[in-house]
Each structure stands twice: as structure tokens, then as C-alpha cells.
Symmetry: C3
């Protein structure tokens, strides 16, 4: 009877969609001596960090125990870890004390050599496949993709140049902050070590800490003091490093939001987002693999773009990837037209037929090299279609993709029409093409491709009809064309 009761309790828990934390050892695993010492102060100095970590998988399971799981259930991709790490919790020192020699921001702190900025190359010790996939992706090159592309960096400079009027231009430090807190807030900053300074810690002690430029930042392409690119905490934030947060659409939404990348807004409007918002609290956000229909009943960003998905019987629907473009064949974030996805993450190396560092010409012709071939596109499209078909019949999936194809043609045509008008405006000196982004007329053209064509494309890709119609979509596209037409041709 008592067994029955225990089972009943377990059933209640399961029915509630909150499985007992099966992976947590009955007692937390041992800590390394160093981590023990860190906690001695930090438990009272930065209690939020410690509490967050204590509830994490890192604190509650050793690498050894994690490696003992069946392969598909593992969150670690390494075959084994160095002995000292194997049997202790992944604590403060295990991350902040790694690879001291590689970190320009390494410094002496209470007799330990630690660094502030934990990087993808630190995480790589246990998660090499994820680090490698990520390192080749557009996200990992998000800083260079702005800074090393003269077209995009002109746009950044135009938008964030600030003003000082008669007192002259803003000092470089000001521009740095303008950019670090806007464009590079998402793309990532260059974090550089500039020596040490003495501060008063939360605990009241004088301590020496690194002087870091453009810090804090958690942008996806952050250039770290160890030379690596990326910030795993962009999606696995702070000290819980949780897969639940990484799978939440709200995480992606931080950067992928309107008006330029309205992925979140369109998703929230879509039927998928609708079901997520209505029922997502009952889903199992931590299961690995993530079982379609059992753990979740409508896709999130992660489901379509990166998670390991299986059916209940273990058949793989899609393999895990940390290159978030790996299931995408076409780049709908048009620059300025939709185009085949780039083959590599460092897009500044692309050259269009006019010699510009852009994936297409202003007329819409894709670059001859560096973009996916039709066969490469087809393969990725098939991967995504398999994801659709986990929940949709063939006819539905094909109809959806055909509508997307047609929408890309139409929005590209709308961008071409606006670009032709803009070129007339430049030719007639109604605007100065020296900087193509800074005058009122040019801004209409920028909004046309950067905000409005994108909105219609995202809306077609994920099913957000209001976005395609009146909220940043066709209503605006038609309006921009009317404005440009009136400016160039008169009424």
C-alpha cells in the first residue's frame, strides 16, 4: 500500500509535468578545494550568483555521472574530462580558473589565478562539439560581420554617431558606449584587458579587479580576452546555464525582435507562439532529447533551429546543432535581398558582382561565391521540412514552403522597386549617395528593406499574418514606395 502511495505521489508529480529532478544526486557532489574557498566569501558577497549556481546541473552532478548517461541524454559532448574535473561539481574555480595562461584577463585573487570572462573555449573542455559548431556560425562572427564590412559599419556609425554640436564630435569613449549599448549589445563587444584597479567588494574589502573595456556584455559574438568569439551566457544565462532558459523563445527574443529582426514578434503572433504562450508552462523544458508531442506541443525557436528532437520511440527528427543557421537554406534577413545562406559565418568576405562586401548586388544578383549551392540549399531545406513534418502532413509542409518561396520573390521585387527609385533620387541629387543611410529619403529606403521587407518574410516563414499586413509589413512597403515615388516623380 505504501508503495502504491509513493507511486501515486510520483504520478501526481508527473501529471503536473514536473518530474522529480532525476539527475540530481541525493546529495550534491563534492566541491573542489578551490571552489569551496570561493564560496566561503561569495556566498555572502554575491549570494544571487551562488544560489543560481547551486540550483544548476553544474552544481548537482559531476562530469563523471553525466558521462554515464545514455548518449542521447547527455548534455556533454566530450568523451572524457581531465581527472581533476571528473569527480567534483563544476564550480566557481572549474570555470573561472581554467586555462589561466590563455586569458589576458587572468589575475591574482586571494592566491588564486582567475579570470572574469569565462569564454566558449573554457566551456569547450566539456562541450567541444557545441563550441566547434558555434565557432563557425554567423553568431560567432557577429562583431566582425559589422566592423569589418564597410557597408554595415557605415550604417552603425550613421545611427550611433551621437552629437555634440558646437562642442565638436563626441569623444571616442562616448561612441564606444553608444555602440556597446546598442548594436554591439547583441552582436558582442571587444572585451580587452587594460590592467588592474582596486575596488571595494560587496563584502567591504579592497580587492584588485581587471579593468575591462566594454564590459559587461553578453553579445553572441563577443571577442573575449582569450581571443575566442562568443558568449555562451547569451543563451545559457548567468550561473544556472540552464537548457530551459536557452530553449525559451524569450531568450532569442532579446535580439531577434522588431523592427529589424522581428522573429520573436512574428512567432508570438503565430499559431506556434499562440500554443506556446497558452500551454508552455506545462511542457518539459529540460528533457534531453526533446520529444515532439510529449515534452512540447508546439515548436519554439530552439525546436526548429537547434535542439535534438526525437519521437517517443527515440527516432531522431533532427540532430542538435549550435550553428543556428545549420537548418536554414535561405537568408530572409535581407541584405538587402533574400539570398542563399552564406557557407561560412564570416560574411564580410563575400563580394557581389559590383565588388561590394554584400551577398547580393543592389539589383538583387547573388554573389558568385560563398553562398550555398542549390544542392546545399536543398539539403538544409529537407532537414527543416522533416521538422515541420513531425507535426504536419506533407501537403501542409509543402504548401507552406511554396508560399514562403513566393513571398521571398515578392518582397525582393518590392525592394528592387524601391532601390530603383532611390537610385533615381541619387542620380537627380535629391539625396547624396556618399553616405546612403543618413538622409530622410534614404531612411525610408533603409526601413523598406531592413524593417518592412523583413517583416513580411519572417511573417511568411512563421505564419504571422498581422505582421505581414498592417504591423510593419505590406502596409509600410506600399507606403514607402508611395513616398519614394512622390519624392522622385512628384504627384
Amino acid at each position: 500500500m505504501v508503495k502504491t502511495l509513493l507511486a501515486a505521489c510520483a504520478l501526481v508529480a508527473l501529471a503536473l509535468g514536473v518530474a522529480p529532478v532525476a539527475w540530481a544526486a541525493p546529495e550534491p557532489p563534492p566541491l573542489s578545494e578551490q571552489t569551496e574557498e570561493c564560496l566561503g566569501c561569495h556566498e555572502s558577497d554575491t549570494p544571487g550568483i551562488v544560489a543560481d549556481w547551486k540550483a544548476s546541473r553544474h552544481a548537482r552532478m559531476t562530469p563523471q555521472a553525466a558521462l554515464a548517461l545514455p548518449e542521447r541524454e547527455r548534455r556533454m559532448s566530450v568523451a572524457d574530462v581531465p581527472a581533476p574535473l571528473r569527480t567534483v561539481a563544476v564550480g566557481c574555480f572549474e570555470c573561472h580558473g581554467q586555462r589561466a595562461e590563455a586569458h589576458a584577463d587572468s589575475y591574482e585573487h586571494n592566491e588564486f589565478r582567475i579570470h572574469t570572462v569565462v569564454s566558449p573555449n573554457d566551456c569547450r573542455t566539456c562541450h567541444p562539439v557545441e563550441a566547434e559548431q558555434y565557432a563557425g556560425s554567423k553568431k560567432a562572427y557577429a562583431v566582425g560581420n559589422l566592423e569589418q564590412n564597410p557597408v554595415y559599419s557605415t550604417l552603425v556609425e550613421t545611427v550611433t554617431k551621437g552629437v555634440r554640436g558646437k562642442h565638436g564630435p563626441p569623444p571616442p569613449a562616448a561612441l564606444d558606449v553608444n555602440r556597446s549599448r546598442s548594436c554591439f549589445g547583441c552582436h558582442g563587444t571587444r572585451v580587452e584587458m587594460r590592467g588592474l584597479k582596486t575596488v571595494v567588494s560587496a563584502g567591504g574589502d579592497e580587492v584588485q579587479v581587471p579593468v575591462l573595456t566594454r564590459w559587461p556584455n553578453q553579445g553572441v559574438g563577443r571577442i573575449n580576452p582569450d581571443g575566442s568569439r562568443g558568449a555562451c551566457t547569451a543563451c545559457h544565462p548567468r550561473h544556472s546555464f540552464s537548457i530551459e532558459v536557452a530553449r525559451s523563445p524569450h531568450t532569442c527574443a532579446q535580439c531577434h525582435m522588431e523592427p529589424d529582426v522581428p522573429a520573436w514578434n512574428v512567432y508570438a503572433e503565430s499559431k506556434h507562439g499562440n500554443i506556446f504562450q497558452a500551454r508552455g508552462n506545462g511542457w518539459d523544458w529540460s528533457a534531453v532529447p526533446w520529444v515532439v508531442g510529449r515534452d512540447f506541443t508546439a515548436p519554439t525557436c530552439a525546436a526548429c533551429h537547434n535542439s535534438l528532437l526525437t519521437t517517443e520511440d527515440g527516432t531522431v527528427v533532427a540532430e542538435r546543432t549550435h550553428d543556428f543557421g545549420a537548418r536554414l537554406w535561405v537568408r530572409i534577413f535581407g541584405l538587402i535581398y533574400s539570398h542563399p545562406q552564406p557557407e561560412r559565418g564570416n560574411t564580410w568576405i563575400l563580394r557581389n558582382a559590383d565588388g561590394q562586401p554584400l551577398p547580393t548586388t543592389f539589383g538583387g544578383k547573388p554573389a558568385a561565391e560563398g553562398l550555398l549551392s542549390p544542392a546545399g540549399q536543398q539539403e538544409r531545406r529537407a532537414t527543416m521540412k522533416r521538422v515541420c513534418q513531425a507535426c504536419h502532413g506533407t501537403s501542409w509542409a509543402e504548401g507552406h514552403l511554396a508560399q514562403l518561396d513566393e513571398t521571398l520573390l515578392e518582397t525582393d521585387a518590392a525592394v528592387a522597386a524601391a532601390t530603383r527609385l532611390m537610385q533615381q533620387a541619387w542620380a537627380r541629387k535629391l539625396a547624396d549617395p556618399a553616405n546612403p543611410f543618413d538622409e530622410p529619403l534614404e531612411r525610408i529606403w533603409v526601413q523598406h528593406w531592413l524593417f518592412n521587407a523583413n517583416s513580411v518574410r519572417y511573417a511568411a516563414a512563421m505564419g504571422g499574418p498581422s505582421y505581414a499586413a498592417f504591423e510593419h509589413g505590406w502596409w509600410e512597403l506600399s507606403g514607402n514606395l508611395a513616398e519614394l515615388h512622390e519624392a522622385v516623380e512628384g504627384r
Copy 2:
């Protein structure tokens, strides 16, 4: 003692707001032979669909068991169902195999005759009252209300006409997609059967499937291959058909969002939406009837507009309706002024005093026929006031409604002022009235009534002060008038 414990467990579950699924039989009910066979392949071919359905009420209760419930707790409105359906789960074949002769998209699939597009007339077998109420509503006529009204169809065409510049106009298929993925994404598309094609299914087999135009689509007024109008899955999505999702404001939000119909945005800002967002996860979203104060503590869209609401002692606050305008007396989605709700869902039959297919003249005079009489308005207003009064005193409810009345007068006056300026602009040839929606000046006028006056009205109806002030409301109304004034009168 053990009994006590079981009771304790149950109490814990209840305290958590997650009642054991009382309606689910201990074992799932039997399946029809046909459904059994469908599942044979589809459990692996489209696992998400099957898992979604398996967790649904349709899979876990026979119609017979559902009909045995007390009347107020029933979700079925039919008195009885045909014998073959009565004692099996409502599975794949029970919906996709119904009324084959009525469905133009009926086709042979592994020796069964099935159709892809399940329609309100299929659902009608068990839910006739809901189907009937819906069939007369504005939602059911959402396609014709755009297509058969030359004023609105001009607006649709103007916005989504696309561009092809020197290559000539876009092909009809492109226009079809532009509209299917924007306006008709919410309103619904005309889904037509165009024969069969061979595709490779998710399971790898070659199968024949229908060629359906403008599919997929889940718009509220979809014209189905069986001639019926509507898509029950617009609100009861995919294969769970859940009342929980239908009651979620996020479901209505898909189409009722800014800038033209900012119902969701205003609700989210309102005190009702505030409480929903803060506490809704603890509510009982599936209870029938829906008990005010016990099951939910602030109204959602469904609570005010369609659910069967009672008090704890069973007194009816409002009867269920699937005509979502049935508790509304005035139409605040102004076209172009607020006006009495139309008597019937097919609004294209209305004629104003100037002979236009509009509920009011451009001067604001309501059509003589087809709109609710004052007595009819009064009755519906009383129904809604009873809903308010479940949680608010009389003084509060009357004060609220009086403020709404006044706001409608004021926003209508603001629309009249802009329309007079626009008429001057047309008279002076500052714009061409041949198409009243396509020039920059005209677009300000459209935004005035379609976005901004609507925002203020919705904000008054549901209590969203920021929407009424700076977010799309009075700030914009005042600004539009200033712009139109400057264009017509000069500075």
C-alpha cells in the same frame, strides 16, 4: 492513515490548481478500426499530431460518456450522435472520414476515403449549436466581408498589390500569396481542390494527396472545399482542440492585435490583462462551466465575449455563444465611424445613405437598415453589463460604460474632422480620390481611423490608458490632424 495520505496527496494536487484529470477514463476508450489503422502509420510519420491528439479530450472520452455529463458541464451540444461514433474515441477517421460526399477534397488514401480539410460542418455532427452560432457571425463571413465589399477590397489590393516594376505586374499567383499570407491569413482563404499530386510522405512512401489552393490556412472565415465557412482550428488549434487554448487571450491576439485591431495590446495593458499575466497560470482553464472568481480572477477575451460563465452556486452570468459579437452592441472597430453592430455577419450587404457598401456615410450617418436597433443594442449592452457586474459594483460598471460612450463620440468627431480635411484635399486635387487609400496624404487619413481612432476606442472599452495617450492613440490623432491641416491650409 493511508486514506488520509491519499487525501493529502489529492489536496496537494488541488492546492496546486491542477485537478486530476477527472474526465479521463482510467483507460483510453476504444478506437474505431479505421482510426487504429491511421495510427499504424501516422504514429511514426507525424508523431506530433498523434501525441497532441492522444492528450486531447477527443482521444480520452467517448461521445457517449461526454453526453452522460450534467448539461451545464457538457462540451457537446448535440442530443445524441450516430451509433458508430458513440462508443469510440473521436479519432483520425471520425473527423477526416466524415461526409466524404460533401467534400470536394475527398480522396482515396490507403483504401479509405478521407479529406484533408476538416470543416465546421464536420464538427457540427457533435457541436451543432456552436456551428450554427458561428455560421451567422461576422467571423464566418470574414472572406466575403473583404472580397465582396468593393471599398475594402480596394484597400486590400492597394496594400498587397506588390510590384514588378518594368517587368510588368506580378502574376496572379503572387498576388494570391501576398493576400493569403497577410489579410486573408486572418480572414481565411478560399481553399479549392485542384486534383491530386504524388508526394513522398514523411515515412518515405509515395502517396497521392490533394492539390489545395491557398493551403495551409486557418483563418476564421476560410472557405472550405465542402463549401462551409470557417476553421474551428483557428481557436481550437491543431489536434488537441483544447478549450484551454481557445480561452487564452494569446489565441485571439493572433489577429486582434495592433495597429488596426489592438484588442490584445490594450488588454495586455489593462488591469484585467495585468492580473491574467501575473496569476493566470494558477487558474483552471478547462472547467465547464467557467466559474467566476473560482476558476479565474480576471476576465480573458473568452470570459467577456463567449464562455458560459456561472457563479459558484451555478447561477448563470452569461450563456455560451460562438457568435463572438453576440454580447456587443456597438462596433468600435470603426469603418470609419463607430456604429451599431450589424444584425448579420455578412456586412457587405449594408448600404449607407450615399449608396456605398459601408455601415456609415463618410459624414458619419449610420445605414438605415441592417444595423442593430436601439432596443437590440440595449439588450446586448445589458448582457455585457451583467458580465462586468460579476466583479464590479453597479456604479463602477455604469461609470465605465458612460466613459466609453463619450469616447466613441469624441473619436468619431476626430475622424469626422480628418475626413473633412481629406475631402478638401481631394477637392483641391492635393490627392486623387479615384483610389482613396494609396497616396501619402490619404494614408495619414487611413491611419487616423483604422489605427488611431480604433486604439483610443479599444483603450476606452478595456482600460488601456497608455494606448489611448501616446501609444497609437490621442498623440497620433492630434498629429494626423496637424499634418492634414498643414497640407490643406498651410502653416
Copy 3:
């Protein structure tokens, strides 16, 4: 064994983050005779109100029991309460029957003298510290801060003046509603008693109720019929008065939203908001004190701005305050520049060097009196920094604040540049400064400081890079300057 099981059940409950309601007495406490009689009718007349209250702490605990809690866990700040209130639930009459003589809206209702509008001075009986803190805050003066400041009241009038065209100006009642349902919807209305009227109650009886102007309203600075200022229900809504709702960011979001005060929007985009949205449903929203890292893992508005925060061992991170500006040193809601927080809540008494009732001159110089001194600013900044440091190292917190400082300088410079251009426009009669808010050019200038500079500042304060870049931030600031420049200087 059975004990173990009970413990297991409890653990399950705790693991689920849903502690049994420890503070609720096994049976609800006794009711006063008067409240008993109120409930006699209102349980059926306004069932939602009664159900909401019944689930509240007010209904489930007597003041006496509440006072017996350890001091830090108390939600009451009074030392003791009058005997008649001490041992009964805080029911209908305990609030609506208090201080009849003070209430102009007091009236006879079934032999009781009650009032409709419960005010902060009623709540003060048990919550004097909260009422006192609130009474001195900007929120409590939110009506006067608009009405008694001629600059701001001109803006209010310009935006909400409505139109009646040839029929003359709108009647005062209409203006009253325009303002009550927009600006004063958040700021609060003047609720005045204008006698009694007879209405038919929900129960069908004729009853006399007060005629109240501009009611209903729950604005934060509402002027109540007893002369007090504020509405506790703005944040502790309706009859549950719950701390959970008050702590929800959705509550603050009602008024603190885009475009003028985009606090919610920026928070939602921030990493803090991301974690809240992904994991907030598992937090303990009702714990007092609110323990960092245990009860919540990312801050909400309340955590940073008003809640009593402690660590697990009881160390206080921040004391509770109901002056929501008490932890703020700088006012980033620029009017029109950022400036030191005002010392008192009634900001209409401020005078800048030009004699205007503004915290700074149009050139950006702060008022000589009434704003926080550098030392006062420093103290508050230290308070907030301690909150940051509960979860962030010193280096992080200082880096963040330094970036905020720099951003304030930059946005103020951007406002100064636009203001200089606007002043040129006024000087050249391109616009008429008699009303500086009503012409198209002036509206660009208003949006510059009221919407766009604010967006960048909030984004810097809370970490919302998309807001700072393209969504209402630098993109718009640059564009406004381009437009103003073109208008004043030509191309």
C-alpha cells in the same frame, strides 16, 4: 514510513515551488457582523469580488495573527490595531466602513454608512509606513505634477483636446473623459462626490449609490473623496490585494510602457526579463522577505525598486520602500534632459534658471533647488549598487553604471542638438512657439526627447540593446536630427 511519505509529499510540493499556504489558518478567521451582512447579498450580487477576497490574505488571517509573525516577515507596519479590527478578517466593512466622517463619498447603504472609494488613508490603519512613504513620492503627486505644471498641462491639452470642427469645441465633459481615459488613466483622476442616484443593482434591487466624477479610475495619484492621494489598488488590484500581483512586472507595465516610459519593454528585452519570462512561474512570488536567488533568480521591477530583499541567512540587501524613486539618483525620464531626482514628489514647485517649472532649462542646466545634491545622489546610487551586487561582481556593477552615465551624457547631447535646431525653427518662424507641442515639426522634437532619448536611457539602465538601436532608440534619434536639420537648413 507514513511520516516519511508525508515528508515526501511535502517535498514534492516544495520542489514544485508551491509551498502549502502556511499563513492560512486551518479555518478562515471570524468575520465582523457587518461584513457578514455585506456578504449576505454580495456573494450572489458581485460573486467575483467576494471570491477574489476570500482567497486573499485579508480574508484568511486576522491582524492579530499577522502581528505575531517575526518582524521581517510582516506585511503590516503598524504596531497594533484598534481592538474591533484585531480579531476578525479584514472584510468588506473593515475597509469600506472606515473613517466615514473623512469620506465625502460616504453614504447610507442598508443601514450601514459606507464609501465606495477606499483610499490610502484607510489602508494606513494597518500599513502606516507604506502609506507615509507613498504619500511623499512622485506617484502620489501624479495628478498635480501634470495639472499644476503649465508646461505639462499644455502638452496634455494639446494631445487630448479633441475636435468638434464647425460644431464648436468639445464640451468640458468630453475633455474630461479624453483625459481621464488617457493621461490621467495612469496619473489618476480627481474623484468627486456629486450626490446620490438610484440604480438597479446586480441583484435587481433599487439602491442609492454615489455619483462620482471620473470614476472608475485606479491611477497612482488619484485624488480621493477623502482628500488623500493615490490608489493602492493600482498595484494591489481589486480585492485580493496580493503581493504577488504587485511584484509582477506586468503590473508596472500598465503605465511604464512605450513609447514615453518604455521601462517594461526594455525590461522584457533585457536578460533580467528574459529569465523572468522563462522561469518566473517557478518562483515564490509571495515570500516576505524576498530572498535573492532562492525565491527569484532574476530581478523584477519590485526587486530593484521597492521590495525588502534579503539573502538566505537574513542579511538585508535592501529595505522595503513604497517610494518607488527612493533607490534612484538620476531621473532618466528626461524632461527634457536627464537630471538628479527631485527631492520631493511634487515636482511642479521646481523652477529652472529661466523661471520655467522644469527640472532643467531648455539648454540642459539643472534647477538650483529641489533636486538631489551630489551626496544625496551618491547615497541612493550606493543603495541600488548593493542590489546589483547581490548577483553581480563589483567590476560588472561598476562597468554597467559607468556605461549608463556615459549614455545619459550622450542622449542629453542629442536632445540639446535637437533643441537648438528647434529654437532656430522658432526664430525663423518655421513653427510658432506659442504652443511648442502642436505642429508637425514640434512633434518631431517632442518625440525626440519624450520617446527616443528615453528609450536609449532606459535601454542603458536595464540592458535592452534592440531598444537602444532600432526600436525607438538611436535610429530614431538620428532620424529626428536629420529631419529637423533638413527643415531648418535645407538639404
